[in-house]
Amino acid sequence: MKDLDLWVFISVFQEMLGPFLWLLIGLAVSGLTLFLAIVLRERGLSSRRLVWAELVGIVGGVIALLIMWLVTHSGIGDAGGPIDWVLIAAIWTVGAIGTAILAYVALSLFASGDASARQGGRAST
């Protein structure tokens, strides 16, 4: 009786976010494309930028949670069972990865002075 249909998902997302849905998808796709392009062009990751991007990502994950709590009139104290903690972790992770990628791209584009110069063999963290 229950098949989840992709179209149902998309329709619900569309109702939820309106035109912002496409903006978000655009941002995610262009962020990811730019990230891959930069990595390919530079044949690797800059560990310096990566560290900064990861730091921004940690904060980004927290901001994602704060936004979620703000718009839903709730807070960390409302978590009541395991699934709530899974959800909190998931929101943090998506927020962290998203902002980290965007931060890496931004650092590469706008602070590109060190781009190829500092590319060392050091591991990222």
Binding site: D3, L4, V8, F9, M16, V71, T72, G81
Partner: protein, 447 residues
């Protein structure tokens, strides 16, 4: 209380759905969306004339689905009301978390192309003559009829009660309208600042969203606690019979939670009158009339089928649903048992339980499948098991997902993941963020 005052105005404004990046994934956790999307099968060609009376949740969803499955049919929606109300949101308006604009939209925005909308009420149903007559006297004949008129709130059945009293002298009623829900919050807010007796309850009739009065009691308790005034207030829930909910396992859980929150309950209390001046509500009880003094009351009126339906041959002729005019349908496919070209969907249908938008979501595809099969000269195997659901808010920030069927079985959509009778944040998120988009997608026949 996490040191946050949930009822602040700024946050109410800031609820713009467009900020909800991270929430998107939650849409996947919707209970009611797990059905087949509108059929992929080829459209059925027909000249049939289908009238849908009532353009609320059920009428719009049915018209949208019919428009997707039929080619050449003339589909006519009849409803005078131009505004569409997302009623499950009334509770959030009554909690001060959303403004009335959150629940108000325009009916015509959901009318699918090719469907005609007649902006009038149906005054008379004539299932023998296969026609309905509108208030202007216009007769609209049909081959198939879907009755989706919702129900009537019978405030006048409570002596002394008048909708004009809502929002005054401690009287609230979340059910009436978006404005009524907002006015109720104003009274609630006053009460939760001052304290006193808060009185809650439900009618003895069938009602839509039987969880709503329970939720509102929990919300009141929560707001009192956030404001540090719980000690100044006494909360009383007057049950119309011996239980707090018709599904035993849910009733027990609510009983335990009320004990935990210090909500007093009285049984077998059916509200019959109100004296706004003295702030007294009267109840019919097995031992005579009982009076309870209140400082705040959430009046939930008796409910019955709209007059045009009650005065027609459509209702049950005997049994528990006859008196209030609920339509006599087969509970498994919503088809009229005496007039096989008539279906009743949503609140007006005389079936056990579920007068909810969630039941509408599951009823509509089944009834539409039977109707289309009848047009095509076949039979449909689709059956509705009475599924209904209610995200029972237990405080601002937590809710329990309660899903059940005709047999009082719990039918969780996500067994092992979202526990049905557990107070969870994820369930609250569903209620606040994901249900309205799902509802809207349902109106468009997409979910």
């Amino acid at each position: 209380m996490n040191g946050r005052d949930a009822i602040r105005d700024e946050s109410r404004r800031g609820l713009d759905r467009r900020k909800l990046l991270k929430m998107a994934m939650l849409a996947g956790t919707l209970p009611a969306m797990a059905t087949r999307a509108a059929a992929e099968e080829p459209k059925v060609r027909t000249q049939a004339r289908i009238v849908v009376a009532g353009a609320g949740a059920a009428g719009l969803a049915a018209a949208s689905r019919l428009a997707r499955r039929l080619d050449g049919a003339s589909i006519i929606l009849i409803d005078r009301r131009r505004e569409h109300f997302y009623q499950p949101g009334f509770t959030l308006v009554g909690a001060g978390l959303k403004s009335p604009s959150y629940v108000i939209s325009a009916t015509k925005d959901y009318v699918p192309s090719g469907v005609t909308l007649i902006e009038e009420q149906v005054r008379e149903f004539d299932p023998v003559g296969n026609k309905v007559v509108t208030e202007s006297g216009r007769a609209v004949p049909y081959d198939y009829l879907i009755v989706a008129t919702g129900l009537e709130l019978a405030y006048a059945a409570i002596a002394g009660m008048d909708t004009a009293l809502i929002g005054r002298d401690g009287i609230g009623s979340v059910y009436l309208s978006p404005e009524g829900a907002e006015a109720t919050y104003r009274e609630l807010s006053r009460f939760t600042d001052k304290g006193g007796v808060g009185l809650f309850g439900r009618p003895a009739t069938e009602m839509k969203c039987a969880g709503a009065p329970l939720k509102y009691t929990f919300i009141t308790d929560d707001i009192l606690r956030r404001r540090g005034n719980r000690g100044k207030a006494e909360l009383i829930y007057a049950a119309h019979n011996k239980v707090l909910f018709s599904v035993p396992i849910v009733a027990e859980k609510v009983r335990m939670l009320y004990a935990d929150r210090g909500v007093k309950t009285v049984q077998d209390h059916v509200m019959t009158a109100i004296e706004p001046g003295k702030k007294i509500a009267s109840f019919r009880t097995p031992t005579g009339t009982a009076e309870i003094k209140y400082d705040f009351i959430n009046v939930v009126p008796p409910m019955r089928a709209p007059a045009a339906v009650r005065n027609s041959p459509l209702p049950w002729q005997s049994g528990p649903w006859a008196a209030d005019g609920w339509i006599e349908v087969d509970r498994s496919n919503l088809r009229h048992t005496r007039f096989p070209n008539v279906f009743a969907l949503g609140d007006v249908a005389g079936v056990p339980k579920g007068k909810t938008a969630a039941s509408v979501k599951w009823q509509v595809p089944v009834a539409v499948d039977h109707l289309v099969a009848a047009i095509a000269g076949g039979r449909s195997q689709a059956a509705y098991n009475g599924y209904t659901s209610c995200p029972l808010i237990t405080r601002i920030g937590r809710a329990m997902l309660v899903e059940f069927d005709y047999n009082d079985n719990l039918v969780p959509s996500f067994p092992g993941i979202i526990a049905p009778l557990e107070e969870l944040w994820v369930t609250w998120i569903m209620k606040e963020v994901a249900l309205k988009p799902t509802y809207t997608a349902m109106l468009r026949g997409l979910a």
